[in-house]
């Protein structure tokens, strides 16, 4: 394992930043997120996962797609150059690494590759920090995630007290560590014990159960307090829905995409007024079924990573783990 003193992390980041934009967890006004590192940025590495997920590194909240000029009846379209900046995501937690994997399934498989996502993802290196302390809302183990060691990361990083330890897993990861080679010491050292989740939920059998419960009255009860504010979808590392819109300036402008939310009524509202999900019951149901039934059906994996952000941030304390338990407890009539 290669190690570095915690006090020398800024030197490490400076070395990585010569070649790439390095996204680090940092806090601003009480909200932590992954931001491009510049000298002086105070890292929030010791506080569990960030308020906002790192999905914006490869799927920005707002992203320009192409420019157009439309004078009179004419039209010209100019593509925005692909953003192939090299990216290093430093200190990403194992749950969020799984989030990237799930986003990869969505954006890169099943017929089409999303060019905007792919360019950024192909140029991203994930340096994952194992968790030695669980937050009260963590339940990643429910989805088979090891909180101490992120499967799918390019570099595994461990908190060793006064040091951080690093192990490259992929060639990309080796390449990144080589950039800072002189800063490391080589030490034995074992990875620290992973933090056990504080929140336990058993998801075994939830998908087949939900497949039989689309019309169940429990949905009306669960949605009762929901404000359809969309916070859960914005903080979620796997929520990927986006809107496409125009920004016009006179006869020219650009198309952009931005995060959208299935919690909003406009999301499915059609021209002419048809609305397949007319009330919050249908919208709440769609979000939870997407995580626990539709994603497993389509991609063979749950669409939730147990990061706990949605239940930590929900203003009316809707909690997906409680929901899973409630649905599992329902006795269904044998048909």
């Amino acid at each position: 394992m290669q190690t570095i003193q915690k006090s020398r992390v800024p030197d490490l980041l400076a070395a990585l930043a010569k070649d790439a934009t390095v996204f680090v967890p940092a806090k601003d006004n009480g909200v932590s997120s992954f931001v491009p590192w510049v000298p002086g940025v105070e890292l929030a590495l010791g506080e569990g996962n960030t308020t906002l997920s790192p999905k914006g590194v490869t799927f920005p909240q707002t992203e320009k797609m192409y420019c157009y000029k439309a004078p009179g009846t004419e039209l010209s379209i100019e593509e925005v150059p692909a953003d192939s900046t090299r990216r290093v995501v430093f200190g990403i937690r194992p749950c969020d690494v799984k989030g990237f994997y799930l986003m990869d399934q969505l954006f890169l498989t099943r017929g089409y590759e999303d060019t905007f996502y792919k360019t950024k993802r192909d140029n991203s290196v994930l340096i994952s920090l194992g968790c030695i302390q669980a937050m009260p809302t963590c339940f990643c183990e429910a989805f088979g995630i090891n909180p101490g060691k992120a499967e799918g990361a390019d570099v595994l990083m461990y908190d060793l007290g006064d040091f951080y330890g690093f192990e490259a897993v992929t060639a990309k990861g080796e390449g990144v560590l080589a950039l800072a080679g002189g800063l490391f010491s080589t030490a034995g050292g074992n990875p620290p014990a992973a933090a056990a989740n504080s929140l336990q939920v058993d998801v075994e059998g939830i998908t087949p159960k939900l497949q039989k419960m689309f019309e169940h009255p429990l949905w009306a009860e669960i949605c009762r307090t929901c404000l359809n504010c969309g916070t859960c979808t914005y903080v979620c590392p796997t929520c990927h829905c986006f809107d496409i819109n125009s920004a016009n300036r006179g006869q020219e402008g650009y198309k952009y995409r931005c995060w959208d939310s299935c919690m909003f009524s406009d999301y499915t509202l059609m021209a002419g007024g048809h609305q397949p999900r007319p009330t919050k019951k249908e919208r709440v149901r769609n979000r939870f079924l997407h995580k626990l039934q539709y994603y497993p059906e389509r991609f063979g994996d749950f669409g939730c990573v147990g990061c706990g952000r949605c239940l930590a941030k929900c203003p009316v304390t809707i909690d997906i783990t409680r929901l899973i338990r409630q649905f599992k407890e329902v006795a269904l009539d044998v048909q």
Binding site: T73, F116, H240, C241, D243, R257, P276, R277, N286, Y294
Partner: protein, 280 residues
């Protein structure tokens, strides 16, 4: 260093090409058909039932079925019903538009081959069905008898009048039955709703595929009528529409359960729909 192995860059599926409207046909008071081409000819080559994303860049972008195609153009029949479609109804031939596609699965033409096809359409719902009708007409030897049952609110609201009353009736073994909702002066055809007209005509389910599209309420009663007449879910096909933004199964909103209508649809058999949540 050699750079001869550079791969051809893959086109970004979310970026449209520039097209031009070369002809506009006023079908009904609120439906126009737009013929769209590009400098390189047809924007893309869709199979019947596939979709195209059409936009006036500064206004908006929406998904439409490609109702028909010629050697150098695609046709979109569009009802005036929202912000973009209002803008489209204002344009004149020569207007540049943006277009991308094709999207979706399209009608299962191989499954339909060798069978009689019953088409049941209502209002603007004939637009997607027409792409399959025209395909069957163009490949007449591959299909059995064709029967088209179509209705609209009034005679003025009938789309594709030239096809209904001139072109299709002349196709060998092709029968066209048209109805309007309420009686009006000068109308000698059937009066009544499509599902009732369908039951009256009572086409046998034997060796047949039924393809239907129309307003949701019409589809509901057509499906009930077909079931009553002995059609099984595997031989009933419909095409759906939901709000779409990307067209490639990424933006999320057109899902019915774990299916995306833009990718796995828009064409589904009733047997498939019966296994999906009733949320469309």
């Amino acid at each position: 260093m050699s750079s001869s192995a550079t791969a051809t860059p893959v086109a970004n599926p979310l970026v449209p090409v520039v097209g031009k409207v070369i002809k506009i046909v006023q079908e009904t008071p609120d439906v126009k058909t737009f013929h769209v081409t590009t400098d390189q000819g047809k924007p893309f080559v869709p199979m019947p039932g596939q979709l195209g994303m059409l936009s006036i860049a500064p206004v908006g972008e929406a998904m439409f079925s490609v109702t028909s195609q010629g050697p150098d153009h695609l046709e979109f029949a569009i009802k005036k019903t929202g912000i973009l479609t209002d803008a489209l109804h204002e344009i004149e031939p020569g207007q540049a538009v943006a277009v991308r596609g094709p999207y979706g699965n399209g009608f299962p033409v191989d499954f339909c081959k060798g069978k009689d096809i019953l088409f049941i359409g209502g209002g603007i719902g004939l637009a997607p069905v027409r792409s399959l009708i025209n395909y069957c007409v163009a490949n007449r030897q591959d299909f059995g008898n064709l029967q088209i049952i179509y209705g609209a609110r009034s005679s003025a609201d009938l789309c594709f009048k030239e096809d209904l009353f001139e072109n299709w009736p002349q196709v060998p073994n092709c029968r066209v039955d048209v109805t309007i909702d309420r009686a009006e002066e000068g109308w000698n055809g059937n009066v009544g709703f499509v599902p009732a007209f369908l039951e009256k005509l009572n086409p046998s389910p034997e060796g047949k595929v039924a393809v239907t599209c129309g307003p949701p309420i019409m589809i509901k009663f057509v499906l009930a009528a077909l079931a009553k007449m002995g059609y099984v879910p595997e031989q009933i096909i419909t095409t759906l529409e939901l709000r779409m933004k990307c067209g490639i199964g990424k933006c999320g909103r057109c899902n019915i359960g774990s299916c995306y209508v833009c990718l796995d649809g828009p064409v589904f058999t009733l047997a498939q729909l019966n296994t999906m949540p009733n949320e469309y």
